[in-house]
Amino acid sequence: MAARAPRLGLALLVALALASLPYWSGDLYRLHLVSLIGAYWVLVAGLNLVVGFTGQLSIGHVGLLAVGAYGFAILAGTLGLPPLLALPLCGVLGGAAGLLLGLPSLRLPGFYFAMATMAFALIVTELSLAWGGLTGGGTGLSVPGFPAPFDTPSGQYWLILAVAAAVTALTWNVARLMWGRALVAVRDSEVAAASVGVNVFRVKLTVFVFSGVTAGLGGALFAALQTYITPDTFVFDIGLFFFVCIIIGGRGTILGPLIGTAALTALPELVAPLARLGTFFYGLALLVVVLLVPEGIGRLVAVLVARVSGEPHRSHEVRPDLARLRQALAPPDGTAADAAPAAPAPLAAQALR
């Protein structure tokens, strides 16, 4: 209980800092950057359940992001629906697209699945070019912003923050409870998971559709933030970027990918040479992490914290309670054990060792 109080305090402090960010961030560009991280995080949080917890390596989630973004631009812009209604509709749209992609591809083994999701991203780009009447083709579409309380940069930021917090809470609940255990079981061994009663395909599909919903929401927020989208906005590299964020942050945690998303979005913006290298930097980061710390930076930090805080490495030596075992193994009438207490006891102890 004593350890919880500072943690709760820290969480409150972070929440307060995030909520009041528009007042102390300084310039609008930094606020935009944090909003972008938030929009990405809405997608990455859902994708994290797929990649980090279920172990399905989807590298083409940018396709679902594009579906959400175009959905928002068309629903709120061309059809003129209220943007706050279009936002949840984009979630539905992304979920439907996720179902469409997941139904055939989630039955495939690892590399096949990765290729299918990559193909999906390319197909979405292709279709967004081909259906010029709907998507504006290569020239793209302009995206309407959100109405009154959310029409300023800070208002938009608070909207994104609210959606991101809600999605984070949802994924945290999933990861923490029975669902999360089922997902991790599927990741570690599908056969073992199936043998203890996890419906492997249904679990995968449910989580994938959920990630589609968050991708649709993230896409809508992303589009509103960008104000103008073309097929070039959704290059395959962005899909790779989401994937790298999760792998770098660490699989099977929520904080790790959050840090990964924030760091990988902010670093190229703040350090000029990295921006020029762009995707090369993501590839290098992925390679270094895979080769050196496959568990991700998050795991590395946890190990370092444990070492610095000086918590000794506890070993779990199993010591059988020999006296009780001996008593249990003794004949029920008690005569044999009493009659020859010296001879059989060490024997029994040796046998138990």
Binding site: A114, M115, A116, F120, T279, F280, L291
Partner: protein, 286 residues
């Protein structure tokens, strides 16, 4: 109509060559490398650079392109596969080869430029040859020769038999004294050389383009999965089928739906025959 068939077969030959390179690497390491298509891209880009940029004769350009491909194949093995296989975590190789492929593509894009550049003529021929132009028959002949050469190598030479032994059961092969690690390295060098050769031969068709690798990685994989993983003949059939299908799709529906139709073919084949047309049926471990 004939033009559609010829161009479809030509681009199909490139897919088939990529599928062959997949097969060579898969057989010894059971790894499907994301860098496979990039090997062909290297052949095209470096072939164009050696001949048009440095002014080398075509023969030296070919040699250089093959060497660059083989070198990157070797790098893939040393950096992306060897350490990861030793750790035996499932699918880590997918991440490491994906990272290598991304880095290579971006590096080539930064150095070579992101525009497709023309590939020089290899054999003096008039541009009015139409369907008999070298850009069509060169890749087709190359991939046929590659398949025949690979089969001859596997069946007739001792090294080929080592490859086959490693591919069938690496542990048993090692128990019989075969240096399986060296065989694996050699297979990656071979795959790189084949990819470089194919990319060089198809350069006039595909142009020297940095983003070609990703497309070929995907389409070569589709050809491989359709034809059957591990089968060289299946790679040829799958590549030709996929090339013809995309050519006819372009002819009838326009170029916008190529990828959609290619993936549709993949899904259809995987639903009906999960092991591919000519692949061996795999027993699922339980």
């Amino acid at each position: 109509m004939l033009a559609v068939i010829v161009s479809g077969l030509a681009i199909g030959a490139v897919y088939a060559a990529t599928a062959l390179a997949y097969n060579v690497m898969y057989s010894t390491s059971k790894v499907l490398s994301v860098t496979t298509g990039h090997l062909c891209m290297l052949g095209g880009v470096f072939g164009a650079w050696f001949i048009a940029g440095l002014g080398l004769p075509a023969g030296l350009g070919l040699l250089g392109a093959v060497l660059v491909g083989a070198a990157f194949g070797g790098i893939t093995e040393v950096v992306g596969v060897r350490r990861v296989l030793a750790r035996s975590d499932e699918h880590l190789w997918l991440l490491s080869t994906l990272a290598l492929a991304t880095m290579l593509q971006q590096a080539v894009g930064l150095w070579w430029g992101t525009e497709p550049k023309p590939f020089p003529r290899l054999i003096p021929q008039d541009f009015s040859a139409g369907l008999l132009d070298q850009k069509y028959w060169l890749p087709i002949l190359t991939v046929l020769a590659m398949t025949a050469g690979l089969e001859a190598f596997y069946r007739l030479t001792l090294w080929g038999k080592l490859f086959q032994a490693t591919s069938e059961d690496a542990f048993a092969a090692r128990a019989r004294g075969i240096p399986t690690d060296r065989v694996r390295s050699a297979s990656y060098l071979l795959a790189g050389a084949l990819g470089g050769l194919a990319g060089f031969a198809a350069g006039q068709l595909t142009f020297a383009f940095f983003a070609l690798g990703l497309t070929l990685t995907l389409n070569g994989f589709i050809a491989l999965a359709v034809g059957g993983l591990g089968s060289n003949l299946g790679a040829l059939v799958g590549g030709a089928g996929l090339g013809l299908l995309s050519a006819f799709a372009t002819y009838w529906f326009g170029g916008e739906y190529q990828q959609t139709i290619a993936v549709g073919l993949l899904m259809l084949v995987l639903l009906v025959r999960p092991e591919g047309l000519l692949g061996a049926r795999r027993v699922r471990p339980v």
